[in-house]
């Protein structure tokens, strides 16, 4: 995720201090991984350098967290461009699991076992996410669903591969 664009987007509704930006980010997007203050300041100084934000005021007491930032017109344009450009789908073609399955077949190990063990591990994650979703608010539900659908896709691949192991074994042996 682009932290710069996200912080910039948070500034669109009005100027904020560094600590306030961090809080807003953590609350909305930082469920698992809250930002470090250091990340906020290095990001803000980069945005400042690039003219995407400007300093709108400094509270007495000093320290970088006392700066109040405001988004510039160039900043708004930048957020707009980021939102409008689609994300590249993740690269799935270098699957570790596929490699493990083929290696197992090549070395006459139990490939079905690998698939079963992986399925159990995936389901464990899915249980945790399902539980979190059940207790959570709408934001939690959407975040967990995103992860759940990806894990589900993996599981469907595991299932399909398990059903094709005999064919794959024959091909690998050639």
């Amino acid at each position: 995720m682009s932290i710069g664009h996200t912080l910039l987007g948070l500034l669109e509704s009005g100027p904020r201090h560094g600590y306030d930006l961090k809080r807003a980010f953590d609350e909305k997007f930082g469920h698992d991984r809250p930002l470090h203050y250091g990340q906020v300041y290095s990001t803000m100084s980069r945005l400042l350098r690039n003219g995407l934000v400007e300093v709108d005021g400094i509270e007495s007491g000093g320290g970088p967290e006392r700066k109040r930032y405001a988004i510039t017109d160039a900043g708004v344009t930048d957020v707009e461009r980021w939102l409008a450009s689609p994300e590249k789908p993740a690269e799935y073609l270098q699957s570790t699991l596929y490699t493990k399955v083929v290696l197992a077949l090549l070395t006459h190990r139990d490939a079905a076992d690998i698939l079963d063990t992986q399925r159990a591990e995936h389901l464990r994650s899915m249980r945790i996410l399902t539980d979190r979703k059940r207790r959570g608010d709408l934001a939690d539900q959407l975040i967990c669903d995103h992860a759940l659908f990806h894990l589900e896709a993996d599981l469907r691949w595991l299932e399909l591969t398990a059903a094709r192991l005999d064919r794959l074994r024959a091909e690998v042996a050639r």
Partner: protein
């Protein structure tokens, strides 16, 4: 055989053939009181057959099934059907509600069959419809409610007798993902609150994720993932 200690329902080495088809080929299963166990596996692997055997609906060709310490095979037909009416509850994919009866009457039906008065049965039924958030549909007939609503009524009907084991075979199989999810949430919440064990047959991982653990069935053979790792 000796069932795993503390288990409520357990099966060992089940075999069941339909003509030349070996639907179960040495499957095993066990569940503790209040536990939710998913039975996963591809279509045709023997999941439903396993459920039917465990519930005493279909007798296996060989192998043993114990419920609360008793072999199902040694029970009389009368005893087994009493078990299915009292200790067990059932939710299937569809087609389980009586179309001529209202939703309240459908949910009250198992209690009526057990001899409960109409008034009392319908009061209990309404309570269960409320827990599944469909009490407003009480007066409607199954044909007048949506698939998701119908499944919630079916869950209410399965739980109204306070079963110790709820058998659910693809309970969300005919629903879209949002409705399926809600049914699973309500089903598992209701089961947990009454301490009913759930045998949850599903080929969907998202549904299985509501369970405490899973067993995987493939070609009639089962694999208990917890004991395997």
């Amino acid at each position: 055989m000796t069932p795993p200690p503390g288990s409520l329902l357990a099966a060992e080495d089940l075999r069941k053939a339909y003509g030349p088809t070996l639907a179960l080929d040495g499957a095993a299963f066990s569940i503790h009181p209040g536990e939710i166990v998913a039975v996963m596996g591809p279509s045709g692997s023997g999941k439903s057959t396993l459920l039917h055997c465990l519930a005493g609906i279909v007798p296996p060709d060989s192998g043993s099934i114990t419920y609360a310490g008793r072999e199902l095979a040694t029970m009389s037909d009368v005893e087994r059907s009493a078990l299915r009416r009292g200790d067990f509850g059932f939710v299937f994919q569809f087609g389980q509600l009586v179309p001529e009866l209202t939703c309240v009457e459908n949910v009250a039906l198992p209690l009526r069959l057990n001899g409960t008065s109409r008034k009392e049965a319908e009061r209990a039924a309404l309570g269960w419809l409320e827990r599944l958030e469909v009490d407003d549909l009480g007066g409607k007939r199954p044909g007048e409610v949506s698939g998701g609503q119908g499944q919630r009524v079916a869950v209410a009907r399965a739980l109204v007798t306070g079963p110790r084991v709820l058998f659910a075979d693809e309970p969300t199989g005919a629903l879209d993902s949002l409705n399926g999810e809600r049914v699973m949430e309500l089903l598992t919440e209701a089961a947990r609150s009454t301490d009913a064990a759930v045998v949850l047959v599903t080929h969907e991982a998202r549904v299985a994720a509501y369970s405490d653990r899973e067993i995987v069935v493939r070609d009639g053979r089962s694999r208990d993932m917890e004991r395997a790792v």
